[in-house]
């Protein structure tokens, strides 16, 4: 089959590799309909996540058709149209049975390495480095899905591939950012108007937010925030974010600050950005945390900072004293796909949510490298590129 392989920093190639096969009794093989790029892939592509190996197939946000099931798969059959959660959960361990699927004890075959770095290993994620299990990703004609009964969700009738695609990752991630933090009446600020940030804005409304404020620097993304996210907007390259947020909130600050950016954040403060960028490139700090620092500064006293932007390990100059003295709560995590997807598919079916607008570019897999470049450069009004490795009706 064809697959998009990572062969080094910013080096992606479409390759002919063998087809996947059932390796464990609970596996299924999915013929991929759509497979989206994700902001968190950029950390891999740009070489900021260790434990990538040349030849790794990337991609983790996808849907498709079941073509083969292992002997222990009970709920799926050949021909089912499914959307698959990017995070792999066994369904049986303490964390999965407590709906904390991204903390799964069992799904990560390289647990021993992650344990050294994190203290305790977390769930595996498709196509997301060997630290996260080394599972082959979804930018391919076929993908093997582990614990398929837990990871695959049947797409309701009347919901298209395009509509259901982002229920795999961007939508549950944004939804979780709001679900962890937002109470009715809260003013919610969201840093990053990409796929996850926009889903967080929509979800904040669903959770009863009274106002939503979006922070980004790309006008076309802020336009989506305004139109789709019903948000007030702040372009951080034009105004002082902290002052603007204070003014917009009667001097109190937002009750909830959502970081939907993560470890490759830019900063409107040129000195801070240069400091972070140089240290990151010299590998003196793995993660740049300008957004996280600003969120802590901006947040209302006693408020909540909700972090779904991805960080790899360590952050420098974290404003711990500010967090502590302002009595802030931090909520965070890779998203618990299997907890949220069924509910989100219901919302999709009821017409409460429709994330399909994120899909600005549908391209063949052969254009994988160009797709990532356009997405990385925020060119051509790109929100998300999704590849269609096997063109399906």
């Amino acid at each position: 089959m064809k697959a998009l392989c990572w062969n080094g920093t910013r080096k992606l190639n479409v390759e002919r590799v063998s087809d996947p096969s059932i390796l464990n009794p609970k596996d299924a093989i999915i013929r991929v309909a759509l497979s989206s790029v994700c902001g968190s892939d950029l950390h891999l592509v740009n070489g900021f996540i260790p434990t990538m190996k040349a030849g790794d197939i990337i991609g983790h946000e996808f849907n498709g058709e079941v073509v083969e099931v292992g002997p222990e798969v009970k709920k799926l059959k050949k021909g089912d149209r499914v959307v698959v959660g990017s995070v792999i959960g066994c369904g049986e361990c303490y964390h999965c049975t407590h709906d904390e699927w991204s903390l799964c004890d069992n799904s990560n075959p390289s647990a021993v390495y992650q344990e050294k770095l994190f203290g305790y290993p977390t769930a595996a994620i498709y196509g997301y480095s060997h630290l996260f299990g080394g599972y082959a990703g979804s930018h391919a004609e076929y993908i093997r899905v582990a614990y398929a009964d837990n990871g695959c969700f049947k797409i309701p009738d009347g919901i298209s591939w395009e509509q259901s695609l982002f229920a795999s990752d961007a939508l549950p991630t944004g939804y979780m950012a709001a679900d962890m933090a937002v109470k009715p009446g809260d003013i919610v600020a969201v840093w990053g108007a990409g796929g996850v940030g926009l889903m967080a804005m929509k979800s904040a409304w669903l959770k009863g937010a009274s106002r939503v404020i979006a922070i980004d620097r790309f006008d076309y993304r802020l336009a989506y925030a305004k139109q789709e996210g019903k948000a007030e907007i702040i372009n951080y390259s034009e105004v002082n974010v902290l002052e603007e947020l204070k003014e917009l909130t009667g001097g109190r600050g937002p009750d909830v600050c959502i970081d939907a950016v993560g470890m490759e954040a830019r900063s409107s403060n040129k000195l801070e950005y240069a400091y972070d960028k140089v240290k990151q490139n010299l590998r003196l700090q793995p993660d740049r945390a300008a957004v996280l620092r600003q969120a802590v500064m901006a947040c209302r006293k006693g408020g909540t900072v909700s972090v779904v932007g991805v960080y790899s390990s360590l952050v420098d100059s974290f404003p711990m004293g500010i967090l502590m003295n302002k009595a802030l709560t931090v909520k965070s995590g890779q998203m618990h796909a299997q907890k949220y997807i069924p509910h989100l598919l219901e919302l999709l079916q009821q017409g409460e949510l429709d994330p399909a607008f994120l899909l600005t570019h549908k391209w063949p897999l052969d254009a994988g490298a160009e797709g990532y470049k356009m997405f990385n450069d925020k060119a051509d009004g790109c929100m998300r590129v999704a590849f269609n490795p096997s063109v399906m009706a």
Partner: protein, 239 residues
């Protein structure tokens, strides 16, 4: 089970290391003297041999007769510990372990365990770096329903070893399973230093085995990516 608990069946050590060195030097002198001298050769040879035995074995029959307490074994038993919490009730976990033939399902290097009618079991292991399968017989030496299981290898084992697994209720977290494996390296002190070098590897192996136990027992499978496609395959080609 402490660091120096005895494994297998060897004479108890009751002579300190310093005494053993003095014994060895004295034995050498006496034996040399017995061989070359001309007075009291039989007495010298006899005491020399006695001291040599005392030095090499660490066991002094005289001390034993006088009731001196055994000393810690200088070829120390090597202990490896690991613990895991498994999301299942204690009785189920215990029952699974009590059927020793289940062990190869999650311990990668144990090829088979066969239980015999007399309660003994026959173990076969494929240890990295060993050219052939290691095998030994073991017996269960202590068993407390749902709480504890311990075994000891029987005389003649290639590697004297013993193990203990304990099961503790961890409330809604399930069951805490703690394992201690104790073994005595073959080939005496030289073997011991090799074993000490390899011990971190062995410890990781036991930890991974226990992790695999949880994976297998909770889900019925052990996660893997072996055999999946990648651009590293020999036949992969860039299009």
């Amino acid at each position: 089970m402490n660091e120096n608990s005895s494994v297998g069946h060897k004479p108890a050590v009751n002579v300190s290391n310093t005494e053993r060195i003095i014994s060895a030097v004295a034995a050498g002198y006496l034996l040399y003297s017995a061989a070359t001298g001309n007075k009291a050769r039989l007495l010298k040879a006899g005491s020399g041999a006695f001291l040599l035995y005392r030095a090499l074995s660490g066991n002094c029959p005289l001390y034993s007769a006088l009731g001196k307490a055994p000393k810690p074994d200088p070829v120390k038993n090597i202990n490896v510990r690991a613990v895991v919490t498994v999301n299942k009730p204690k009785d189920e976990v215990y029952t699974f372990w009590r059927n020793l033939e289940n062990i190869p399902l999650f311990m990668k290097h144990i090829k088979s365990v066969t239980t015999m009618d007399n309660g003994h079991s026959h173990w076969e292991a494929d240890i990295p770096g060993m050219s052939s399968l290691l095998s030994w017989d073991a017996e269960i030496v202590k068993e407390e329903e749902c709480t504890l299981l311990s075994w000891n290898s029987l005389p003649g084992a290639a590697i004297d070893n013993a193990g203990k697994v304990t099961f503790a209720d961890a409330g809604e977290n399930g069951t805490e399973v703690s394992i201690i494996i104790t073994y005595r390296a073959p080939f005496g002190p030289a073997g011991e230093s090799v074993a000490r070098l390899l011990n971190p590897l062995f410890k990781n192996m036991v930890k991974e085995d226990l992790r695999n136990f949880r994976r297998y027992f909770e889900t019925g499978e052990i996660p893997t990516t072996k055999g999946q496609p990648s651009g590293r395959e020999e036949t992969a080609t860039i299009l």
